[in-house]
Amino acid sequence: MRNDAAADRALDLYADTVRRICFIHLKSNADVEDVFQEVFLKYLLHDNPFESDAHEKAWLIRVAINACKDVLKSFFHKNVSSFDDLHNEPFYFQEQESEVMDAILKLPEKYRDVIYLHYYEGYSAVEIAKIIGKKENTIYTWLDRARKKLKESLGGGQIGR
């Protein structure tokens, strides 16, 4: 098991990344907090060394995505409505950013992941395929469809490959 120093380091380096993944999947603050803590706890309990920082980051992203999916699939989440709506939280988006984020959040979950990983984190389709355990062609398809949906929502702005 990793120690406190490793926990602090991971939080410094990857807190925002994990938080963004939580943002695009979860609505409840409580769910975010649970997933956030669970991801970093799993990191502490993961004894095997990482080959590189990039490997470490990719591992955390995969764990975070899976943790979010687990929460969404859970019986409790499906059957209990939360009073706590995360997206009313005070992230200060400018008008355009808010419009973009709304469009992203309207996408199916799998498209949100590939959009975030490709356009924000800069991963290639091959890398995304490895991270989320899908075939490359699937990732290309999802990226293409996500781009088209965003284009429809946002009205014509070009999104490059």
């Binding site: 098991m1 939080l11 963004r20 907090e33 988006f93 808010s98």
Partner: protein, 283 residues
């Protein structure tokens, strides 16, 4: 559009409250799990100690049970032996010849009390026809001083009971031997009783070699001793001398002479004196 996407995601941060809460949660979990990891180690250490103790005690008990403290060797014409532990149980049997082997294969004496084992063996010996009505049963016992007398007495009773009735004329002798005698006998691949009988033959005929006679039955060796008397022996081929009734021929002079020795063969006692390790308990 890519810039807008990036700009929108840039606005999302893990706030300090979430980080602080998570850091403190992780710290608590680390401590909890460290302690939990230590407890199993302590439990494991305790468990290991118990197992070790159990193994040591088991090993000690096993050693205690499976260490022979006495040996009972029997000669009829077949020869066999029992290794007996401190609890009087037979922990090993061994044969000195093929007939002995055949009897041991048939009889189940493992972990039985030595007296019961002797009774079973004698029953099988009789039922298989190894013991003639005028045969002999020689039993030597090597044991510690504290148990020797008891063993001799019990074996005498068991043998007498087994032979009572149909084998009343069988010559029997239950006697004690030292470990040194038994050791030398084993070096010659023979029983202590037979070894002592050959030694006695040697006193009459010094040319006799022990190994020449280990393949013969004890009855034959004793008969040879009786027949040789004072004569010098030159070989073992004429050992089967019998009288007109088919009984072993006895040199009355030598027999009388042996009667006067402790353990002399003439009265059915053991054919050797105390100086060779014979303790002199005889019937």
């Amino acid at each position: 559009m890519e810039d807008k996407l990036r700009s929108a995601f840039d606005k999302i941060h893990a706030d300090n409250t979430l980080k602080t809460k998570t850091a403190s949660y992780l710290s608590i979990e680390i401590n909890k799990r460290s302690q939990a990891a230590t407890r199993p180690r302590l439990r494991l250490a305790a468990l290991c100690s118990v197992i070790l103790l159990f193994v040591v005690i088991s090993g000690f008990s096993h050693n205690l049970f499976f260490t022979p403290t006495a040996y009972v060797d029997m000669d009829i014409n077949l020869s066999l032996g029992l290794a007996v532990n401190r609890f009087g149980r037979v922990i090993e049997t061994y044969a000195y010849n093929d007939d002995g082997s055949a009897i041991l294969d048939k009889a189940n004496t493992r972990f039985k009390k030595y007296g019961e084992a002797m009774r079973i063996l004698l029953d099988d010996v009789i039922s298989e026809g190894y013991l003639k009505e005028d045969g002999l049963v020689f039993v030597s016992v090597q044991a510690g001083d504290d148990s020797l007398d008891g063993m001799l007495e019990w074996l005498e009773q068991v043998i007498a009971a087994s032979l009572a009735g149909h084998h009343a004329n069988v010559e029997t002798d239950v006697f004690a031997i030292t470990s040194e005698v038994r050791q030398i006998a084993l070096e010659h691949h023979t029983t202590p009783a037979k070894y002592l009988a050959i030694l006695e033959l040697q006193t009459i005929d010094p040319t006799v070699s022990i190994d020449d006679y280990t393949g013969h039955g004890i009855g034959e060796i004793r008969e040879r001793t009786r027949n040789q008397g004072g004569r010098h022996h030159t070989g073992g081929d004429d050992m089967q001398t019998t009288d007109e009734h088919g009984q072993p021929a006895v040199d009355s002079h030598k027999t009388e002479e042996h009667h006067n020795k402790p353990g002399g063969s003439g009265n059915g006692g053991h054919p050797h004196d105390n100086g060779s390790g014979y303790h002199g308990k005889k019937k």
